[in-house]
Symmetry: C2
């Protein structure tokens, strides 16, 4: 297989096939890295799911055939893996990548705009960055408004209701150096915080970090 064939549509289709057949059930960070990934669920093509009943997380299966209902509606939400790809290509170190861990995520005191019965707190992901990298990351992620876009906050965790950066609500904690600022982006795990608050009778989401790999290439989402 040529290097070219290993990019774009071919890479996305190949990785979804591995996931669909059960060959792969891990986190999708770095899998088909040029391809847009998405939060939430499609019936067979996510490595791992979360099943919720009455707002409680009851299992994290790699397969949901046994609980699928034909009246379920699926939708995909943009994912920070798209802009992380652009940050890495620009030479910015992402601490959770360096550590081989999942990005730290936090429930905030920022309320989402309610929609019908749905309401709840915004969840953010956090990346510690040196000031010059933080400025560059704001520029780069501003180009990707459909995958969370620019950060929602920088510095001062307590100003958005985060008491302790060492204790993320989702993902893994990462070290922050004295010369780094915590930079916060809106996160596609937000619907799971809404589920926990609204307590719908039944729903299925992706497991955080185990995304839907699409055929879109990340650069196709850039506004500029």
């Amino acid at each position: 297989m040529s290097a070219f064939a290993d990019r774009g549509v071919a890479a996305g289709a190949r990785e979804r096939a591995r996931i669909r057949t059960g060959d792969f059930s891990g986190p999708t960070a770095g899998v088909a890295p040029g391809n847009v990934q998405a939060n939430l669920d499609i019936r067979t093509d996510l490595p791992r799911y979360r099943v919720w009943r009455g707002g409680e997380l009851i299992e994290e299966p790699a397969d949901i055939d046994h609980i699928w209902r034909d009246d379920l509606v699926s939708f995909a939400l943009g994912c920070s893996f798209s802009f992380e790809h652009a940050l890495i290509e620009d030479g910015i170190e992402l601490r959770h990548m360096t550590c081989g861990s999942n990005v730290p995520m936090y429930r905030t005191s920022i309320g989402c705009e309610p929609a019908g019965p749905f309401a709840g707190p915004l969840v953010v992901s956090m990346r510690p960055l040196k000031p010059s990298d933080a400025i560059r990351a704001i520029q780069i992620t501003s180009r990707f408004p459909s995958v969370h876009g620019a950060p929602v906050h920088i510095g001062f965790p307590s100003a958005i209701g985060i008491a302790d950066l060492a204790k993320p609500d989702y993902g893994d904690a990462v070290a922050i150096r004295d010369d780094e600022l915590p930079v916060f982006w809106a996160c596609g795990v937000t619907p799971q915080a809404v589920i926990a608050q609204v307590k719908p009778e039944f729903c299925i989401t992706h497991a955080p970090g185990s995304m839907l790999i699409t055929d879109l290439v990340n650069s196709q989402l850039a506004s500029l």
Copy 2:
């Protein structure tokens, strides 16, 4: 005079005429606010100048007719007033404007790229901003690369050699609230720090804040 006629070329020409005739010798912040302003000198059209001999500032006259030499070469440098206009129009509070003072400016430990005999420290201006305003200000000023563009630093003054924000090297100190980050932009006063270091036999600059008002409208400098 209509509101329209008070904008753009007409406003710039009118204000330069006032300055040329000696009617106005103050700082130019807020004067013909839609018009691009510039650092450094043109013989008759700046409100106030600085005269330097051997790297020492010797006077700040409103008129330089008595020291003008026909072998002097003039050039104009972009000025942050252009992007401040865009920040204010976006609803961002600029503390030095609120206080009616000149923006605080600092010599940094960042060395300029030397050019021929010229070398010296980068001077930055500082604006304290709430995190969300800082993020927005980075986006807005990124559109104006010819008038200093995006910030060069955010937070951590000591990381760029600033010991005390309350003691600016030029301009006036402003209060920084607990929930604000200091945001630093490259500044057109940098050549004056270079003059102090290189000690040329004779030169004339603008007085900080007393700029050349041009006929360009600020939006014409935007890259997007």
